[in-house]
């Protein structure tokens, strides 16, 4: 049931804190320093984010989380997205931790999640963007022998362990592999986010590290991870739109601010509409995540990916264009936002993949 309420007090407080966090920690110069560090280093403000309760926020109370619903987290995620944060909040928390909260029995989940939510440990999923297995598992004793490579593991460079989606025949399954046992190559994606490729050839998993019947948990994690990307995108589109609006109000050409030209005004109106629609879809899907019917949930999420992608593209094109040459440089936030949008557009599955899923669900 879709309610479309306004954000509550708690959500507003969370967003206010996030805005201060971004203002204090994520100036472009501060961010440049972080970008120059090796991707294998622990995420810069991860413990602080844990202390603020952000890592625990989306997870159920029973497993050590704060049990905040997505509708109440949208403001936080939009702000972190607009702030271009480099910490792996999406992959480690919204995607991986959410998966574990469904996969493991409650006590075991609480135990596994405790160090993650405290910011002491980073664990991420190793799978395709939509949660499919890219690694093979063959029976070996009571456990599995793995083989295969996941070329892109968001947040993987600094991960202590991977939850590897494996193909072991019919069942949907996960293998828990310490980073030390895999061949991990850390790098930064075009937007500066730390990621890795991880090769699992020759990795053996004992029976306690093998988990079958993971379909529902993986799907839940994929839903949450996609939604987080959509909410971040929504925040980022809004920030790009605001930055462009500020620019066209100030930038003088032909004797007046370029925002006085009708063509620029209408382009800004288009950007505004895209911003509003992206936010609507983020909110719609936040509500949809509480929807019982998985078909409806996935259908709305796929729709949101398609619409948000169109919005992001249009806005990034126009933002660069209206900034002129300055929009092409690495010196303004615009360029960094554009690169982040390109990465978010692939996070949780591309527009094309979700358009297909949407059509198939009709």
């Amino acid at each position: 049931m879709i309610r479309f309420g306004l954000p509550g007090e708690e959500a507003r407080l969370l967003q206010d804190t996030a805005e201060r966090f971004v203002a204090d920690r994520y100036g472009l110069a501060q961010r440049a320093v972080m970008l120059a560090r090796p991707p294998q280093e622990a995420p810069a403000h991860w413990r602080e984010m844990a202390a603020l309760g952000w890592l625990a926020a989306p997870l159920p109370r029973g497993v050590g989380g704060l049990g905040m619903a997505p509708v109440h987290l949208q403001g936080l995620l939009e702000t972190l997205g607009a702030g271009l944060i480099l910490e792996p909040y999406g992959p480690a928390i919204m995607n991986c931790a959410a998966t574990l909260s469904r996969l493991l029995p409650r006590a075991q989940a609480a135990g596994a999640l405790a160090p993650m939510l405290a910011g002491d440990r980073v664990e991420v999923l190793a799978a395709s963007p939509m949660g499919q297995a890219l690694v093979q598992a063959e029976p070996e004793g009571d456990g599995w022998a793995l083989s295969g490579t996941v070329p892109l593991v968001p947040g993987g460079a600094a991960a202590h362990a991977f939850w590897v989606a494996v193909d072991c025949g019919a069942e949907s399954a996960l293998a828990h592999v310490p980073a030390s046992k895999a061949q991990v190559r850390g790098f930064r994606l075009v937007d500066g986010q730390a990621a890795a490729s991880a090769c699992f050839d020759g990795v053996s998993c004992g029976p306690r590290a093998c988990f079958t019947g993971a379909a529902d948990a993986l799907a839940h994690g994929a839903d949450m991870g996609l939604w987080a990307a959509l909410a971040e995108t929504s925040g980022l589109i809004g920030a790009l739109c605001r930055a462009t609006l500020d620019h066209v109000k100030l930038r003088q050409q032909f004797g007046r601010p370029i925002g006085r030209f009708q063509v620029v005004q209408h382009r800004m109106a288009d950007m505004y509409m895209h911003t509003e629609e992206a936010r609507s879809m983020a909110q719609l899907t936040a509500e949809a995540l509480e929807e019982k019917d998985a078909g409806v949930r996935r259908r709305l999420l796929s729709a949101a990916r398609v619409k948000t992608d169109a919005a992001a593209r249009a806005v990034l094109r126009d933002a660069v264009q209206l900034h002129g040459g300055m929009g092409m440089t690495d010196e303004l936030a615009v360029g960094h936002m554009v690169k982040r949008l390109l990465v978010l557009a692939q996070t949780g599955g591309s527009r094309a993949a979700h358009l297909k899923r949407f059509q198939a669900s009709g």
Partner: protein
């Protein structure tokens, strides 16, 4: 399409509407609407009677004036269901346009005289705003009202007057003071269509219909009591009237209705590109609806709605026009043959007509260019 408004109360309200329509709607009318056939006056009039008996003619009016007393949320649901069930849309001019204005700004005498007749369907209204020389630039209108004993003498021409052939009354903007800033010398008057000096010339549209008209006003006497509110404040009332039901402006019900028709046409066509386009448009409708509901939530929480609703108008009309264009693609040459020839499939019979007619959506009610200028100016401060 997925219904987004689906709380238990929403579902109960939907059911009430469905039951009512199932009991009341003439099957022939339903079939015409389903096929996108041009509206016939008798279909509308008959359906108006049913809605009147049910008390649903005026969604926005308070109950004490005979309105349905629906919340904004209920109005959105009703719009959706009534379109979904192929009921003919009632004309806006009485129930949704002049009615609310009379309730807000009209005299008690005007309210008593006109409101019940709007509800019952005894009066049909038309709108006299646009003029041959003043389309998007409404405020530059030149129809003049000169004061006379007990009233005004009005002379000028109005155009794009939809369904004036069925109307017995017109609300009209006229210039009552030519010496002040152009917006400040305008008044709103209520004119009888059978008053001496009123004449009508139908305008044939390119789709072959004659739904709009030019209205000539040649020294028409309008009594003082037929001025709405204060003299020279007509621009304020006109703006309030045009803003009307801001949340309904996207036409979500109409969008979904059209989508259903196109989907029906596309069945079995095995055209991957058309199918993808249809899915994109369905998603566009979802985004329009989600945005409407976000604004609804704000409105329900007491945040006044402003110019941001222009985005609903722009997107709603873009979607509907895109759907009629997709219809053309899917129908192919079958759409070009007149129905009378009997050789084309029933399903495509009104495709070209609707494509042509729907071009108006981005022109009237403030063109989409005007709407973008409003967003830039009033929302973005440019």
């Amino acid at each position: 399409m997925t219904d987004l408004l689906n709380s238990p109360e929403d579902i109960a309200f939907r059911r009430e509407i469905r039951d009512f329509v199932a009991a009341e709607l003439n099957p022939d009318t339903r079939d015409r609407i389903r096929r996108g056939a041009p509206l016939r006056h008798e279909d509308i009039a008959r359906w108006h009677k049913s809605m009147y008996r049910k008390g649903w003619v005026a969604p926005t009016w308070p109950v004490q004036h005979g309105g349905a007393g629906w919340s904004a949320r209920q109005r959105l649901i009703a719009d959706e269901e009534l379109f979904r069930l192929h009921t003919p849309p009632l004309p806006n001019f009485g129930p949704r346009m002049i009615g609310p204005i009379l309730i807000r700004f009209g005299s008690r005498a005007q309210q008593q005289r006109f409101l019940p007749a709007i509800l019952s369907g005894a009066d049909w209204w038309c709108q006299g705003f646009s003029e041959p020389g003043a389309g998007s630039d409404l405020a530059s209108l030149t129809t003049r009202a000169v004061p006379t004993d007990g009233g005004w003498i009005v002379t000028g021409a109005k155009t794009w007057t939809t369904f004036a052939q069925h109307a017995n009354r017109m609300f009209c903007l006229v210039r009552t003071d030519g010496q002040v800033k152009k917006q400040e010398g305008i008044s709103m008057m209520l004119i009888d269509m059978d008053a001496p000096g009123v004449s009508r010339r139908p305008i044939r549209l390119m789709d072959g219909t004659e739904e709009v008209n030019e209205i000539l006003l040649d020294q028409v006497f309008v009594p003082c009591g037929m001025v709405v509110g204060e003299v020279n404040r007509g621009w304020t009332y006109a703006k309030a009237l045009l803003e009307g039901e801001r949340l309904g402006i996207g036409g979500i019900g109409r969008c979904k209705h059209l989508l259903g028709r196109v989907r029906h046409m596309a069945q079995g066509a095995d055209d991957a590109l058309a199918d993808a386009r249809l899915a994109e448009l369905e998603i566009d409708i979802m985004a329009l609806e989600a945005t409407t509901l976000r604004l609804l939530a704000a409105a329900e929480a007491g945040v006044p709605l402003g110019a941001e609703t222009s985005l609903l108008k722009i997107r709603g009309t873009e979607i509907q026009q895109a759907l009629t264009e997709l219809m053309l693609d899917i129908a192919g040459p079958a759409a070009l043959v007149p129905v009378a020839a009997g050789s084309n499939e029933d399903v495509f019979e009104n495709v070209v007509c609707q494509f042509l007619n729907w071009r108006k959506l981005s022109i009237y009610g403030g063109s989409n260019e005007i709407q973008r200028t409003i967003l830039a100016g009033q929302v973005l401060g440019l």
